[in-house]
């Protein structure tokens, strides 16, 4: 192997403390060195030309550059090598500036170290293997999981860029929590008015395939090449026959056996139902657990009234497999339930607030439904217990949130705002009512947010009391709310007619399960982790899987929508070329010596390692070995250090290369 050594002065930056000509001179005598020189600015055009000419002239196979940090100009010199016909991975840099001339004063000492650094690089380059960038094909179709505002926005953005979208929603309709909201802060515009058009757009978009009442049950593959299995649960309605006339629902005799979860259990729904009138798609679902047909084969009222013959009691769950190139996870959140949880749960529930015993102690979403014009009270504020208009209402913030004793240390970020909104809506509707808010801090950082909260206090005369409530109990039809105003230092007791708890936003119970299905990390609560909290906020650490909305942490609609569009554009960037290029620094298993212990599989942070069967000529499996998926591996090398039989090598950093550097030390 013929190696060329190029020592750069970096103006005087290196040559001030390192005797560059001497280094070049000494190195010329090292074994394998064919050519050695020094120059004022190696990275300049003449410098690069110097390298290229030397390579061609001396028929060099590899080069070592003694210059600044590889983080600075590795790419420059690799490109120079390419133009001279050398594989770019046969270029090594000795860091003579940042890690030598700039950090030592003594010329002799620095020169000596420089020589040693070049020697190490030389030993490494001798063992370097030519590598080529890995290319992966990209399937230009995206899977969006979750049909809340996050999923809707992301799906529309990707689809409008011209790519196919598969949107999977587990409920019978898309819309998520936003469809339940009455009006939205800070502008108080009607949630359904701004959401419904987008839901319809999704439904009608030629590039979007919508799977409602469906779940993703399996994901295989890697960036650009995922394969997802989707389970479409049986609705017992033949989709393309149903016209959404609603006759079946009207006529179903089972009216009061199940709570309507869209109405947050404040109303009932029939056995055949759509979650809400504007549902998309507007196709009902039969709830097998309460439908008479499934109990005793009788009834069949719905079949009788459906003139489209859309009802099919025998329909079964169906599975679909789809090839996709990227995934956006947008599964949203749920609310902390103050009811006591089973002992296994980290969430402890609020015994002091009655563990959900009192019917007029409700949560924020229930209040949204009560305040919604399309809700169970047609927008009139009434108590769930007796339908009376509450004259005194108490809102309590940070319920569940910021309460380590109940399992959560974080702030839910949106409840300060929606509580101010609730108090305002209440005051707008009940003019002679009194509204109290117990808070710890007001977190209203956002455009027009602080002004919004102040408006509640100054214009709508909502009484804010700083302090947490200790207890709620019922006495003579009133809810006694015991608090303390910590600013005045005085106990405060309110005999309220209704209490609204701003409960924490927490992940869905099945969020960790979905994370494991896809292979993305999540925190101790079940929120999905971003690759970097500041610089890669919408990417998961798994390449090709992006995050949007409240599945990552509590957020409001503006943040959710920005994230969704950001995630969509990340996916669009991925789809902008037919093939992905990746650095070839990946690990590879030597199948002959792999023992099949799979310790490597356990430690790989990216799940890149799979089990591979080795078969004999008869096709009989005689051993299992590790197999590293080059599309997934990120080249950290953790597996190489773990493997006891030394069967894994990391390209560009293999043991031989490192040992050689050690030996040259």
């Amino acid at each position: 192997m013929k190696i060329g050594v190029f020592i750069c002065h970096c103006g005087e930056n290196i040559s001030r403390t390192v005797d560059c000509p001497k280094v070049a001179e000494v190195c010329r005598n090292f074994p394998g060195v064919e050519y050695s020189t020094n120059y004022k600015y190696m990275c300049s055009d003449p410098g690069q030309k110097l390298i290229k000419d030397a390579v061609l002239e001396n028929k060099l196979d590899a080069i070592v550059v003694g210059s600044c940090s590889p983080h600075m100009h590795e790419r420059t010199f690799r490109n120079a090598a390419i133009s001279a016909g050398i594989n770019p991975f046969l270029v090594e840099i000795a860091n003579l500036r940042e890690q030598c001339s700039w950090v030592h004063d003594d010329v002799e000492e620095a020169t000596q170290k420089a020589i040693e650094l070049v020697r190490m690089a030389l030993e490494k380059v001798k063992r370097d293997k030519p590598l080529t960038k890995i290319k992966v094909n990209v399937t230009k179709r995206i899977l969006v999981i979750g049909g809340g505002i996050a999923g809707i926005q992301a799906a529309l953005d990707v689809a409008n860029a011209g790519y196919e979208v598969i949107l999977v929603e587990k409920e019978p309709s898309i819309g998520g929590h936003m469809s339940q909201l009455s009006e939205t802060f800070p502008t108080l515009d009607c949630s359904q008015c701004i959401l419904t058009p987008r839901m319809v757009e999704v439904y009608q978009h030629p590039k979007i395939k919508l799977f409602t009442y469906s779940e993703v049950v399996k994901v295989e593959g890697f960036i650009g090449n995922f394969k997802a299995t989707i389970k479409k649960k049986a609705r017992h309605i033949i989709d393309d026959r149903c016209s959404g006339c609603g006759l079946c629902m009207e006529n179903c005799p089972i009216k009061k056996k199940a709570y309507n979860s869209f109405e947050e259990n404040l109303a009932f729904r029939p056995a055949i139902y759509t979650p809400f009138p504007q549902a998309v798609p507007n196709i009902p679902v039969i709830d097998e657990t309460i439908c008479t047909h499934y109990k005793n084969g009788k009834c069949g009222m719905c079949v009788k009234v459906c003139d489209r013959e859309a009802i099919d009691f025998d329909q079964e769950d169906t599975m679909f497999v789809a090839d996709i190139g990227a995934i956006i996870v947008a599964t949203g959140f749920k609310l902390y339930n103050i009811e006591k949880k089973s002992s296994g749960s980290i969430y402890k529930g609020y015994g002091e607030y009655g563990y959900g015993k009192y019917r007029d102690v409700i949560d924020g979403l229930q209040f949204e439904r009560i305040a919604s014009a399309s809700g169970p009270t047609s927008g009139e504020i009434k108590r769930p217990s007796d339908g009376k208009v509450p004259k005194k209402i108490v809102f309590i913030q940070c319920v569940g949130s910021r309460d380590e004793s109940k399992g959560i240390s974080y702030c839910s970020k949106i409840c300060c705002m929606y509580t101010a909104k609730h108090a305002m809506l209440y005051k707008h509707k009940v003019h002679d009512g009194e509204a109290y808010v117990f808070y710890m801090d007001i977190r209203a950082g956002g455009k027009m947010y602080e002004e919004f909260v102040r408006r509640a206090i100054e214009e709508d005369n909502v009484k804010y009391i700083r302090g947490r409530v200790s207890r709620i109990y019922e006495e003579k039809g009133k809810y006694i709310v015991k608090g303390e105003d910590t600013i005045a230092g005085m106990p405060v007791v309110v005999d309220a007619d209704m209490v609204v708890l701003a409960s924490a936003m927490i992940p869905h119970d099945n969020a960790p399960l979905l994370a494991r299905t896809i292979g993305i990390p999540y925190d101790k609560y079940g929120f999905y982790n971003e690759a970097h909290p500041k610089l890669r906020p919408v990417e998961s650490t798994t390449s090709g899987v992006f995050l949007a909305g409240a599945c990552q942490s509590p957020r409001d609609i503006p943040d959710t929508v920005s994230m969704a569009s950001a995630a969509a554009s990340k996916a669009i960037i991925l789809f902008s070329s037919d093939q992905l290029e990746r650095e070839p620094v990946v690990a590879k298993v030597n199948e002959d010596i792999c023992q099949g212990c799979f310790y490597c599989k356990k430690v790989c942070p990216f799940g890149a390692i799979e089990v591979k069967d080795i078969k004999d000529i008869n096709g009989i499996v005689f051993k299992e070995v590790a197999y590293i998926n080059q599309g997934v591996c990120k080249g950290c090398g953790t597996c190489t250090a773990t493997c006891l039989s030394k069967s894994i090598e990391l390209a560009g950093f293999n043991n031989e290369e490192i040992f050689a550097q050690i030996a040259a030390l």
């Binding site: 609020y350 015994g351 009655g354 563990y355 015993k357 019922e474 006495e475």
Partner: protein, 291 residues
């Protein structure tokens, strides 16, 4: 299995009837209790309020004795004693330095395997079925407000035999004994406890609120499992009556007395006649309140 019994100071004087009824009931249920020999005061509020080393040492001296007598399970019927004993045990189990300090004070090793339980737990150990089986009398005239007081089910990170905010174990026992129980709001509110002598005003006020809530929710008897609660709720009712003439007197029974009644023992045997507010079993059948 024999259980150790740590009576606590009140049990020998102002709460004699608690001691009496407890011994009788468990004897009849065929459950042996072995009194801890030479037990001493747990230190109660006064010790932990002013000197934590003293309070740990006084409480744990009894654990040392229990260890020496081979007692593995010990019932402490007074809620305050119970709380002191388990709190001290918990503290030394979590913090070895505190353990060493106390062992040095006592010049003894403190055993780690003595489990202290309260009376409610003891009933559950025996099994509620056993109570129902031994029922001889109908208590269905009794509408009981089960009063836990502040110390019995707190703090929950040490002891979680029952919920710290909405406990139900006493209700379950009372119902097993055939009484009806009511749902009410003050079952965990503090009665003022140790302020009984010095700040009678506080105790009077707090106890009055507790009693009023029980009455408001339809109770005709209050059940307790703590001598301090009993003193404050029972003994202070005369003063309440003087201060608030409209005050309705309501008898306060120990849970052991209630179970004893169900098992057919009579008022005198159980020491119920020692209470301030009279309890006349026959009148309960007629559902009349005793004024």
């Amino acid at each position: 299995m024999n259980y150790g019994y740590f009576p606590g100071c009140s049990q020998t004087s102002s709460a004699k009837e608690y001691d009496l009824s407890l011994r009788k009931v468990f004897e009849k249920l065929g459950f042996g209790l072995e009194e801890l020999c030479d037990w001493s005061c747990c230190g109660a509020t006064s010790a932990h309020a002013t000197n934590h080393k003293l309070s740990n040492a006084l409480a744990l001296r009894n654990i040392v004795l229990a260890g020496k007598q081979g007692i593995k399970n010990m019932v402490a019927p007074c809620a305050a004693c119970y709380n002191r004993l388990i709190t001290s045990q918990h503290e030394i189990s979590m913090h070895p330095e505190r353990k060493n300090e106390t062992e040095e004070l006592l010049s003894e090793k403190i055993p780690a395997d003595v489990k202290v339980i309260n009376v409610l737990e003891l009933f559950f150990k025996i099994g509620l079925a056993k109570i129902s089986e031994n029922r001889k009398r109908d208590l269905n005239g009794i509408k009981a407000a089960c009063y836990y007081g502040c110390l019995l089910v707190r703090p929950m990170n040490i002891n979680n035999f029952d919920d710290a905010e909405q406990p139900t174990s006493m209700e379950m026992i009372a119902e097993a004994a055939g009484a009806t129980t009511i749902d009410w709001n003050y079952k965990l509110e503090c009665c003022g406890a140790a302020h009984s002598i010095v700040r009678k005003d506080i105790v009077l006020n707090l106890s009055k609120k507790i009693i009023d809530d029980a009455v408001l929710n339809g109770a005709n008897v209050i059940i307790t499992a703590c001598p301090m609660c009993h003193t404050n709720l029972d003994m202070r009712q005369r003063a309440m009556k003087r201060k608030y003439p409209e005050h309705l007197m309501i008898p306060v029974l120990y849970i052991t007395e209630l179970v004893g009644l169900a098992m057919g023992m009579n008022v005198k045997d159980l020491g119920i006649d020692l209470h301030y507010v009279n309890f006349n079993y026959d009148e309960y059948i007629a559902e009349k309140l005793i004024a």
